[in-house]
Symmetry: C2
Subunit: 308 residues, 2 copies
């Protein structure tokens, strides 16, 4: 039996929300999809491509009578939106969000919401380096984790319904508490992004020296970093500002390890390097076994079909 | 007209050499392909899959009468191989290598080679995270750069012939001097690899705390890092030991930038982060325009066909 919401309101119409719209339509998971985006441009695009049934100039209008409200704006904008929509939420409605940081969203959103509204914070671990209403596609969440961090007093029926809804979009759903989520994601996503941004910035400085060679001879390694570093600047600024403690902690460990490897290079300690690189290789196998990536040789960039 | 070598000897039968073997066959670029690998296991595999016409127990036997000898062993093993094959090289033969570092290879190989043998160092900027004789495929070099760093006294006809041969395997060929090559690659490949190895190592430590979650929720960012960090440990150990100065220089710049971003996070300087992330985004566009990667949303991992 399909678990569906009568009316879903998408606040923010970027990659995640537009992918949800496509997935809801593909699965028949909502009768009406209402949408709101901050800029007139995005709203016009949403109308033009028929992303939602209705597109509203304000978030307050969009959430009227909605059974499910999805806050899909940068983490730093969640509090303001919550304050705006609170008086217009219908009793019994579920409010969720898709922010990459959870404790900061709970702190910003929960105080505004009236009793009788179920707030269930969430985070789909899915995305591409693209953003905006045209970047969405129905299968983005297929086989990807969607983490929920329900509060202690959460309504179990409301959580179960949201969970079933997300699973119908193809996601695997897990629950954990918010601080733990923020630490795990600092390791698997936030710190790697910061590092990739940094390396690409270094290359940008050096481009003045070596002309276009950095781009021209962009090899595996740097090329992957540039893809990561092409992600939405506003979203990532907010991630680092709101998951500050966990990110700084992991960065500290990273720097410590990097200095140890740097010393091994300087002193010519090949055994240390070899052992380290052998150990990290095993983690890759774990990820492939966990189904989080394919074993296709991605550096070949689609050339694998020519494999002999 | 096809430029071809009568007999090509591949010393080392890993990803690059086995891909060359497939590409040479596909293009009819050699009459005979002789191969040698250090381990009996690899030699047996090469025989089993028919990678070469002949497989030899020693490099010295493999290079006999060869017109082109390709040194495809880790950078740290080049000198020893050169010393071994030198007395067996035929006059007028071309010797090239595929090492990721060029000055160290020149220093290790050139002193051993007799006059009348053309040594033309090279580096194909192509690869996957796989290694070994089964990992090769004929199209690996298609539309990828192959950098040559000929010595000042290089024979122009020999260089031109090698160049045409590589182009027939699908590569784009450029020439530069060895120190410059080593600096550019430190930026585009060597330092990014070290950083990826480091981050994956940090996660491995933390896995003891968070159980399998680091792998389970491996997101874009970390997932890409693990692919990079799955590359061959011996090869990468040698890269860092032999391109020490350039790698340490770029690492120094990286650390400097990372500390500046870390401070921006700590002090809550959102504008600094936003500006930095906006600047790095532009580099990605440059790489796509340069044809070094596709604009397909890779984080979606082949889900792009469902894009609506």
């Amino acid at each position: 039996m399909t678990v569906r919401y009568e009316k879903v309101a998408l606040i923010g119409l970027g990659l995640i929300a537009s992918s949800m719209a496509h997935a809801m339509r593909a699965g028949g998971l909502a009768t009406t999809i209402a949408g709101h985006a901050k800029t007139a441009d995005t709203r016009a695009t949403a109308l033009e491509i028929g992303l939602c049934d209705t597109v509203h100039d304000t978030a307050a209008e969009a959430v009227r009578d909605a059974d499910l409200v999805v806050l899909a704006v940068p983490v730093g904008a969640m509090g303001e939106i919550a304050a705006e929509i609170a008086p217009h939420l219908r009793a019994g409605a579920t409010v969720t969000d898709v922010g990459s940081v959870k404790q900061a969203v709970i702190d910003a959103v929960a105080p505004h919401l009236p009793a009788g509204v179920h707030f269930i914070p969430g985070h789909p671990i899915a995305g591409t380096e693209y953003s905006g209403p045209r970047s969405g596609f129905a299968t983005l969440f297929q086989n990807r984790w969607w983490l929920l961090t329900p509060l202690a007093q959460a309504d179990l029926a409301a959580v179960a319904k949201l969970r079933a809804f997300l699973e119908q979009m193809g996601a695997k759903v897990d629950e954990m508490d918010a601080p733990h989520h923020d630490l795990v994601l600092a390791v698997t996503s936030h710190t790697p992004h910061l590092i990739a941004y940094t390396m690409v910035g270094v290359a940008d400085d050096l481009r003045r020296v070596t002309d276009s060679e950095v781009i021209k001879y962009s090899a595996a390694g740097f090329r992957d970093f540039t893809r990561i570093a092409a992600s939405d600047p506003t979203m990532w600024r907010d991630v680092f500002l709101t998951n500050k403690d966990a990110t700084l902690e992991i960065l500290g460990r990273f720097t410590e390890e990097l200095f140890a490897l740097q010393r091994a290079i300087r002193t010519g300690d090949g055994q240390h390097l070899f052992d380290y690189f052998t150990r990290t290789r095993a983690i890759r196998r774990g990820i492939i076994e966990a189904g989080q990536d394919t074993s296709a040789p991605d550096f070949g960039r689609g050339k694998a079909e020519g494999r002999a």
